[in-house]
Amino acid sequence: MGKLNIITKGILKENPIFVLLLGMCPTLGTTTSAINGMGMGLATMFVLIMSNIVISLISSLIPSKVRIPSYIVVIASFVTILQLVMQAYLPGLYDTLGLFIPLIVVNCIVLGRAEAFASKNSIVDSALDGIGIGVGFTLGLTVLGAVRELLGSGALFGFKFIQGDGMLVFILAPGAFIALGYLLVLFNKYKAKL
């Protein structure tokens, strides 16, 4: 498999949100605006890349029966590092994303990639896979966040287009489900044309 291919497949063909349907909790919970979605995506990408690298390094040393607990400890450590660093240097974003930062640990994408890719491939390939899936996840979150922000508050990346409120429901919980549902429909339609 070409190196470029490893990156691009995560963005379109195996997009974690639109194709694999993994990591739905942060996808729905943090995308009240495009910026928040992007922040969450980047945070997840950091954990994905770092844990992919470390796991691909140590996977040959770990007995297969304790591999999942070991991977979880590695992932949880990187999440904690992320928590500490964000609290120190990006306290605002940390407050907004709140509970969903520690929950990156149980994001199925991270453990899924560790188990399915990083444990069987070289360090470089695992890092590239982390980048690809991470970018795909970030893109998905940003798009969903942008759609919800645009419809819900008439703004995009914080710039307001209309006076007053938008369709508030899109910022609230039901809108998250509905917006993602319609985005999936669009994605399916577009994919069929390819």
Binding site: T32, I58, S59, S60, L61, I62, P63, S64, K65, V66, R67, P69, S70, V73, V74, A76, S77, T80, I81, L84, V85, Q87, A88, Y89, P91, D95, G98, S119, G152, S153, D165, L168, I171, L172
Partner: protein, 192 residues
């Protein structure tokens, strides 16, 4: 390839992995501890700067506790030379999603200079309009004196326009502002 699993190597691996992880985390914690505390102080300081008139002292080192009906509140006196130009009061109340913490700033004559939200857990898109960056809700308090401008939502007979569809949040915000005003008066009383 993955190794054969025996009890010995499983235990050994898990211990090494956890030990390595906690050592590493301990190191990161030690490095970030300072900046995290600094970030929190910075947050308080920038809130104070926003809510009181210009000052020359360091309000967060002059901070003191004021007791009001059995509870203590932090106040940050802003002074220009020796003159008290304003007072920032940290107060909180229960909103829709949890605690709403405000930094309410008063000029020395008792009018509200400005209000900043320190933390809240209100619904995004509804209750979070108490943040000054999200709507004009907090503007209506600026320059008013709580003795004349009744800090209650209009539904409760006051002068405050509540946020649409967020009456509970607006009420809680008003509660916190009223508490802050009482603390301000108490502070003046204590420091006559």
């Amino acid at each position: 390839m993955a190794k054969e699993s025996t009890l010995k190597n499983m235990l050994l691996t898990l211990s090494i992995v956890t030990l390595a992880a906690s050592t590493f985390l301990g190191m990161v914690y030690a490095v970030t501890k300072g900046p995290i505390e600094e970030a929190m102080i910075q947050k308080t300081n920038s809130a104070i700067m926003q809510v009181v008139p210009e000052f020359t002292n360091d309000p967060s080192s002059d901070k003191l506790l004021v007791d009001l009906s059995g509870k203590s509140y932090w106040v940050y006196p802003a002074k220009n030379g020796d003159n008290l130009v304003g007072l920032a009061v940290e107060s909180s109340s229960s909103g829709f999603g949890g605690r709403i913490s405000l930094m309410v700033g008063f000029s020395s004559d008792g009018t509200i200079y400005d209000i900043s939200v320190l933390s809240h857990t209100e619904t995004p898109g509804l209750g979070d309009k108490i943040e000054s960056s999200k709507s004009n809700f907090s503007v209506q308090f600026k320059g008013t004196n709580p003795d004349e401008f009744k800090i209650l939502v209009k539904k409760d007979g006051g002068d405050v326009d509540a946020i649409t569809a967020s009456t509970i949040t607006s009420r809680a915000y008003c509660d916190a502002v009223r508490i802050a005003y009482e603390v301000f008066k108490q502070y003046l009383n204590d420091n006559k």
